[in-house]
Structures are given as C-alpha cells and as structure tokens.
C-alpha cells in the first residue's frame, strides 16, 4: 500500500510540476472551450424573445445557470489522452514507458488529474464573472456540490478510459484521433452540451439514458442549478459506475491485443 501511495504521490507531483511549466497554455486552451457559453447566449436570447419569457420552464437566467454549469463541468471532464497515445504509438515514444514496471496509463491519468488542479481556481474565477454577467445563480445546497463532484470524478474516469481505448487504436490505424472526434459529438449531444436533455425528442432521451453521457455532464450541471435531486445523482452514479467497469475492461483488452501489434517505431 505504501508503494502504491508513493507512486501516486510522485507521479502526481511530477505531473503537476510539468503542468505548471505549461500553465499559460492550459488557461488559453480552457478559454477556447466556449461552446457551452455560445449555446448559453443563443438559448438566453430565444427565451427572452419567447412568449412568457421562457422556454419549457427555462427563463434566460435558468438557461445561463444550466449552460454555465455544463461549461464548468466540461472543464473538469477535458481529456486529451487519445492525442498523446496516438503520438506515442506512432513515434515510438511509448517504448521507454513500456520498459518500466508500471502501466503507462497511470502517468497519463496523473497528468490529467494534476492539470485539473491548475485549471480549477481559474475556472472558479471565470464562473463567478460569467455568472455575474449572465445572471446565473447556483444552488446553495452543499450536498449538491458534493454529489456533482462525485459524478464528475466518475465521469472523468469513464471518459479517460474510453479516450484511452480510442488512442490505443493507433496500434492498428494511422488516424485514431478521428474516432475521437465522432465520439466527442455523441458525448456533447447526449451529454446536454447543446440543450438540456429534456429538450430532445423522446426516442433520443430513451437511448441517452442508457449511455453514460447525460450523467457525467448534464446531470452535474442540473445538480448545480438545483434542478436535480440527490436520488437522481445516486442513479446516475450507478450507471456511470457500470460504464466505468465496461470501459476498464475494454481498455485492458485493447491494450493487451494492441501491444502485440506495437512496432516500437524508431526506438
């Protein structure tokens, strides 16, 4: 246990040191993820112009709260491991990592976790500014924040694993990241990045509830807005937990089969 803790601590601290070397890039990248904010402005304008000043029960301020919530949650769900793996497999940079008695996945995971620490305070400041500008107001129930945080941890881990599996496709194909683009579209659509899930046709909602996407993005945002209950969070956590298990084994299988294909290019 001590050895595991030591590995986790050292990996996290070195990855944190690396992230601080690139802190400016992290913040610029963070500001570039503005889709939620654009959707917020679109829906706020639509609600303001709608009869009664609302659409399906959402006032402009409630749209602001929801989309600002998805923006904040989305910031914590950002994963770039597919690009890293694609590069490492194709350039042979995976080789030095394969020589060590530790699954290279943990170094990537520590890197993502460390980056969250740099990103989080900046994100809080920006949420406060955007909330003040847009009129968004979040719940004051601390339990909702804890529940949202738990869902984000589960959601991030699930997303990390599926993106890792996609990155590993570089063992077979020269463009694994193109798969990532397709999966991102499904994640954004069913997660509720374009609109709350309740605004989608019934058949889409029926499909969406079986996927992990609404529980990792839309549900935490609804919890922060005070529009979802702790029971909803519990159900979401169960679904996410199940998907996490699925992605864990998928990642393991792709890794084991893929290693046999590895060419250790240029190493």
């Amino acid at each position: 246990m001590t050895a595991i803790w030591r590995k986790a601590r050292v990996l996290f601290s070195t990855q944190f040191a690396l992230t601080t070397e690139y802190r400016a890039e992290s913040i610029i990248w963070m500001l570039s993820g503005t889709l939620s904010l654009v959707m917020m402005l679109v829906w706020m304008a639509q609600a303001a112009a709608a009869p009664g000043g609302q659409i399906r029960g959402y006032t402009p301020a409630e749209f602001a709260t929801y989309f600002l919530g998805t923006w904040a949650v989305g910031q914590l769900l950002v994963v770039w491991v597919a690009w890293e793996l694609d590069f490492e497999v194709r350039q042979g940079a995976l080789s030095p990592k394969l020589l060590r008695p530790l699954d290279p996945m943990w170094q990537h995971y520590a890197g993502h976790a460390a980056e969250r620490v740099v990103r989080f305070p900046v994100m809080l400041v920006l949420v406060a500014v955007f909330a003040w500008l847009s009129g968004a107001s979040f719940t004051r129930d601390p339990r909702a924040y804890l529940a949202a945080f738990g869902l984000v941890v589960l959601g991030f881990s699930a997303r990390f694993l599926w993106e890792y599996s996609i990155g590993l496709l570089a063992f077979w194909t020269e463009s694994s990241t193109s798969f990532q683009e397709v999966v991102w579209l499904v994640y954004a659509a069913l997660g509720g990045l374009f609109a709350p899930l309740a605004f989608y046709p019934g058949w889409v909602q029926t499909i969406a509830v079986w996927t992990p996407f609404p529980y990792m993005l839309g549900l935490p945002a609804q919890l922060l807005a005070g529009k979802a209950s702790l029971a909803d969070a519990g159900r979401g956590a169960l679904v996410l937990g199940a998907w996490l298990l699925v992605f864990w084994f998928v990642r393991l299988a792709v890794w084991r089969v893929g290693l046999r294909k590895y060419g250790a290019v240029g190493a």
């Binding site: 050895a3 030591r6 590995k7 601590r9 050292v10 990996l11 070195t14 040191a17 690396l18 070397e21 690139y22 042979g92 940079a93 080789s95 030095p96 990592k97 394969l98 020589l99 060590r100 008695p101 530790l102 290693l259 046999r260 590895y262 060419g263 250790a264 240029g266 190493a267």
Partner: protein
C-alpha cells in the same frame, strides 16, 4: 566488489520477427493509388537468430544498418512480440513483460529518451525510484556512485532540455540503471557524443559490469565502444547471425592480410615497399603495409633482411576494416 546475480543469462533460439510494411509511390497519383489499392509487403527483420549469453558477459552486437540488431534487442527487452522462436532473459519470457522481468533489465536507446524533458533529471530519477520501488538507502547509495562515476554533480537540477547531449546521455544512463538491472541492452549508447564523453560512458558501463556482474549486450557504430568493452562479438546481417566468437577471431577474418608496421632508420619509397605487400603507406621513417596472413613470417624476415629496420610490429587489421569487408559484398560464413 562484485555482486553476482542468480540468473542474468540470455537464451535465444531461432528468434524471428516479420513486419508488414505499407508501400506508397511518392506524389499525388501515388497517394491516390495507395488510397484505392494499398500495397504492403512482408519484411523479415530477424530470421532465426540463436545465441546464449552467460551472466556477467559483455557482448558486442554488430551489423550494418537494418541488419536486425535493434529489432533483436527490442524483442529481448519485451517491446516487440517475436513472430517465432524462443527467448529467455534472466529466466523470463520477455514478451510477457512481467514486473519482475522489467525490474531486472534495461534498454538504453541512444536516440530515445525517458527523462522528462521540461523538468530536472532529478525528478525523473524520483519517478523511477517510486516505480521500481527502490528503497531510500539504495537510491542514495546508487546516486552517490553514479554521480561520482558519471560526473553528474551540477547537472541534476538543470532542466533536461537545457542539458548538452553528453550531459543528457549521462543522465539517461543513470535513470536507466538506477534500479540496478542485471541485464543491460545498450543500443548505440554513445551516438553523437564527443570522444571524451564516449570514453566516460564506456568507463561507466565497464564499472557497472564489474561492480554488479551484469550481462551487457551493446550495439554501436563506434568500434572503439566494442573493442573497449566486449571480448565476444555477435555479428548480424540481413536478420541472420553471421559471426559469434571472440574479438580476436573476428579481427582475423579480414581479407586474410595482416598489417605490418615498420619504424625505419633510412627512408624507403612506397614503390620499393610495394614489393613486400599491398596498401603501402609511408610517412617519413614510419611505414605500414598489408601482407598475406600465411606469409607473415617470411615477408617480415625479408623486410628485416633487406631494409634497415629499427622496429617491426604485426597487427590484425582494424575491426572497422574487417566489418567493411564482411559486409562489402562477400558472403559471410556462418560460424
């Protein structure tokens, strides 16, 4: 002090590796053809290589570019899955990449790095300490030893990206050997380094081998690396082992000639010396020429009788010359 390990041996039998390589003609049309009908061919990088290494042995692994040296090392270190044959390193099957196996080996690739580029080398060492579960006492003892032998003092806290190539290579070696592996696969560890740095890396490898009794397989384009460290040489060409023997034996496999060096008391022309042998070089009172191996004694006797010779030595040709001859078109004989 030498710490012998229970099993640092390497056994290789009929090891093979085939690759599928995709081919494409250059240009737009080539891309279009490749898009519609992608062509590929099977490349046999390693074709049935067999050898055994005893614990503590240092072996030079030579061959021209593309001969299969690096592919063999990658298979022995578990990076590549063999297409056929068998390999056992320190009692383990490399392709299984078991944690205990990875703790016993290292692969240093002169053209690849494991150090974290934006952080000081010391951070990478701490990561390796944690990953290999090295105790604090062993870590500090090893670091003291490496710092002394490799001259690391003063560079460990500098960002890796700001180190010179030589400094970086020394740190790479230290990082790769921090866990005191028993089997070292060294692939061009001195590539690009200046002569002094090459010597310091060689001294470090020699010291490590003597201190820990580690088995070492070394590939290098610098013959000085091989002649300084290895007594036994494996030569691979076109994926097949074409020589396995000691360095002296390899040197004797040249064109059959030996190099005679003369220190003369009176100058002699090249044309005159050409009567005694080929490839004559004269520089003042120093001269050298190649004579057939079978006639060394007779030719030397004639030189001593005919010329005013102060000193005469007979040597095998430089290993570079032998290698050039071995891969210069003559079919090498399997030993």
């Amino acid at each position: 002090m030498t710490t012998r390990t229970p099993d640092a041996s390497v056994h290789v039998r009929d090891l093979r590796k085939h690759y599928v390589v995709h081919e494409k003609e250059p240009g737009f049309l080539g891309s279009l053809r490749s898009f519609v009908n992608r062509k590929s061919r099977d490349v046999e990088a390693v074709r049935g290589v067999s050898f055994d290494l005893q614990p503590g042995e240092v072996v030079g692994f030579l061959g021209p570019n593309g001969a299969g040296k690096t592919t063999t090392l990658k298979m022995l270190s578990g990076l590549l899955h063999p297409s056929g044959g068998e390999a056992r390193v320190a009692g383990f099957e490399p392709r299984r990449r078991e944690a205990d196996f990875l703790r016993r080996i290292t692969l240093v690739m002169g053209q690849k790095q494991q150090l974290l580029w934006d952080l000081p080398a010391l951070d990478s060492f701490l990561v390796n300490q944690a990953i290999y579960e090295i105790s604090d006492a062993q870590y500090h003892a090893t670091m003291r030893e490496f710092t002394e032998v490799l001259g690391l003092a003063g560079i460990l806290k500098k960002q890796v990206r700001k180190l010179s190539l030589g400094e970086r290579m020394k740190c790479e070696l230290a990082a790769a050997l921090l866990h005191r592996p028993q089997v070292l696969f060294l692939d061009e560890p001195t590539i690009g380094l200046d002569v002094n740095m090459q010597e310091s890396v060689r001294a470090f490898i020699r010291d490590y081998n003597e201190r820990y009794g580690a088995t070492v397989i070394l590939t290098s384009h610098y013959m000085a690396d091989v002649t300084a460290l290895a007594r036994r040489i494996l030569v691979i060409d076109a994926g097949q082992l074409v020589f396995d023997g000691d360095l002296a034996h390899l040197a004797g496999r040249g064109s059959g000639g030996k190099r005679v060096r003369l220190q003369l008391r009176q100058s002699v022309s090249e044309a005159h010396l050409a009567r005694y042998g080929s490839d004559v070089k004269v520089d003042g009172l120093s001269a050298e020429l190649t004579v057939p191996r079978a006639e060394v004694s007779a030719r030397a006797a004639r030189l001593l009788a005919d010329l005013d010779v102060a000193d005469l030595t007979v040597e095998d040709p430089p290993i570079e010359t032998v290698m050039a001859e071995l891969f210069g078109g003559r079919e090498a004989e399997r030993v």
